[in-house]
């Protein structure tokens, strides 16, 4: 029985997206003994997705989203709810796992049995694949967190830049503590980590670069926040969503939140 579900949410599937999807799926092909793939996508994409030749090796499930909420957080939540494995991970369509991901995660999972979430070191690259920076690595810096290698609530309150994609999450712990809050813009992963650490989840970074993330790909969610006229976030709004995350993490379920321009 597979122990990890990799949840891959898809919002749309143009030609470029299909290439990226193939690439993302290819990056987990060699993990087929331990992982299964769950693609979550709007029902409207059923013909398109079924025409994409993915992997013969991977156990793959396509979960069609019949609701109108096809944003990243909502689709991940659908995947988590449907997940029947002990662990799950999140793969973004334009990202990829590195070959070291599974073996390094297994090594740490077997040794640190009390840890609920393992984050890899994420290598952020630009669209040309050029290295920009690492993410999740700072917890290993001497004197940074209370326990070297671990991410705690206190650190999160000060630093927001932790990547959940590529992380390995204990399904039960996440289901118990609530899923992503899809009404929080920009900082929904931040709020999620704050909430998990508040409720005692133990988060550790595996000091290996197991995941590659493309930053600011055109039309990606975060690109839109910066460049799309309809979606662009002002400085005030960014601050609002950071502050919101810091308030909302005390609540398991989402509450009504609305940003009102002053």
């Amino acid at each position: 029985m597979k122990k990890i579900t990799i949840i891959l949410p898809i919002h749309k599937l143009e030609d470029d997206d299909q290439m990226m999807l193939k690439n993302a799926v290819y990056s987990i092909n060699d993990f087929h003994n331990d992982v299964k793939l769950m693609i979550v996508c709007p029902e409207s994409l059923n013909t398109k997705i079924e025409s994409v030749k993915l992997s013969n090796k991977l156990e793959t499930k396509i979960l069609y989203n019949k609701t109108h909420k096809t944003d990243f957080a909502s689709q991940i939540n659908m995947g988590i709810k449907d997940c029947d494995t002990e662990w799950f991970s999140i793969l973004e369509i334009d990202d990829e796992y590195k070959p070291i991901w599974l073996s390094s995660m297994n090594e740490y999972m077997n040794r640190f049995t009390d840890v609920n979430i393992f984050l890899p070191i994420v290598k952020d690259v630009n669209v040309e694949g050029k290295f920009l920076n690492f993410a999740n690595e700072s917890v290993w810096a001497y004197g940074f967190s209370k326990k070297q290698g671990y991410l705690d609530n206190e650190i999160l309150l000060e630093f927001q830049n932790y990547q959940t994609s590529g992380g390995l999450f204990k399904t039960e712990v996440v289901k118990e503590n609530g899923l992503f809050k899809d009404n929080i813009k920009l900082t929904f992963t931040y709020e999620f980590l704050l909430r998990l650490t508040l409720n005692g989840a133990i988060i550790m970074t595996v000091p290996r670069s197991g995941y590659q993330h493309v930053q600011f790909r055109e039309n990606s969610l975060f690109w839109q926040y910066k460049h799309d006229e309809k979606e662009v976030l002002s400085e005030d709004e960014v601050k609002f969503w950071v502050d919101t995350a810091k308030k909302e993490y005390f609540f398991k379920n989402k509450r009504d939140i609305k940003y009102v321009k002053e």
């Binding site: 590195k98 070959p99 070291i100 073996s103 390094s104 090594e107 740490y108 040794r111 070191i121 290295f131 920076n133 690492f134 690595e137 700072s138 917890v139 290993w140 810096a141 001497y142 940074f144 070297q148 290698g149 595996v206 000091p207 290996r208 670069s209 197991g210």
Partner: protein, 354 residues
Amino acid sequence: MDNKQANIELFESAIDRLEKKESVIYFLVYDTKGNARAAIKHIYDMALALKEKGYNAQILVEEKKYDGVKSWLGDIYDSLPIVSIKDGKTLINIDDIIVVPEQYSNILPQLSNIKSIKIMLVQQKEYMFETLAIGSRWSDFGCTKCITTTDAAKEYILDYFPESTVYLIPPYIGNNFVPTEDPIKPFIAISCRDRVQHRKIISEFYIKFPQLRWITFRDMVQMSYMEFSDVLKECMVSIWIDDESTFGTFPLESMKCDVPVVGKIPDTEPDWLSENGLWTYNGNKIVELLGAYVLAWVDGVILTDEVKEKMKSAVLPYNKEYHNERTLSIFESLLSQRNETIKNSLEKLKTEIK
């Protein structure tokens, strides 16, 4: 009683002590004031190997107040008696041995009238002449025997003191140095003789590889022996810069833990040096090599079995069994030669009296 009769008694009691293994083997050591020193451990190891075989090995120190090695080596050397030169009770007989480390070359003139076996112990060949009067030789003070730790050091000693008999006793790398079963941590063990170099390497590394500022350097000083091995084994790589090194204990300890070494080749190449690490003659290349290795490690590169095998082979000869065997055989042969010499002298003296 005339001199000859007195000498007969002296020789007879010396033979008696030698045969009962009561002759003292003094190992002169300096006080490290609780700081770990591989050179001192090596001396204690030789003494212990002899003590465990029933020889009367003792640690000889200068001052009455001596901190000892318990704080950093634990209690395994507790059986070794410690005697001080300054308590005035130390009597060195003709059947005794005194082992003098190179730092104490300056006491050789004081030992010149003592007829015991005198052995120089050279672990740092660079310091061989440091306290020896300029232009003088060990043999000027009746010392023609030497123990050292490497072939290169032996060659060097024989080049300057060809009249010496040089024995090799390399230190051994303890069995507490084993690969960890836990995941390796993003730590770099750093060992530089010069603290200026130490700071320079760390600063250069963080400046040249700002994306690796989260990597921790572990300063391998002021730790007990066990703590030292525990810290070393969890590191991903170690750095070694010690131009004056003769033997090179730290890189071997590192290799025994399966921790690869990025190192500057010292002025005297260690006997064990081969393709068993990332070695360079150019100190300015160290940071570059280190950065490349760390980035590869973060990306998931693991040591190949071939590299591990080379590291294992480098350490293989430096085990406790070999060390103890060698120590015993050298000291036993020295004591046995001395026994023969005294017996011959006694025989000669008795013949003269008749």
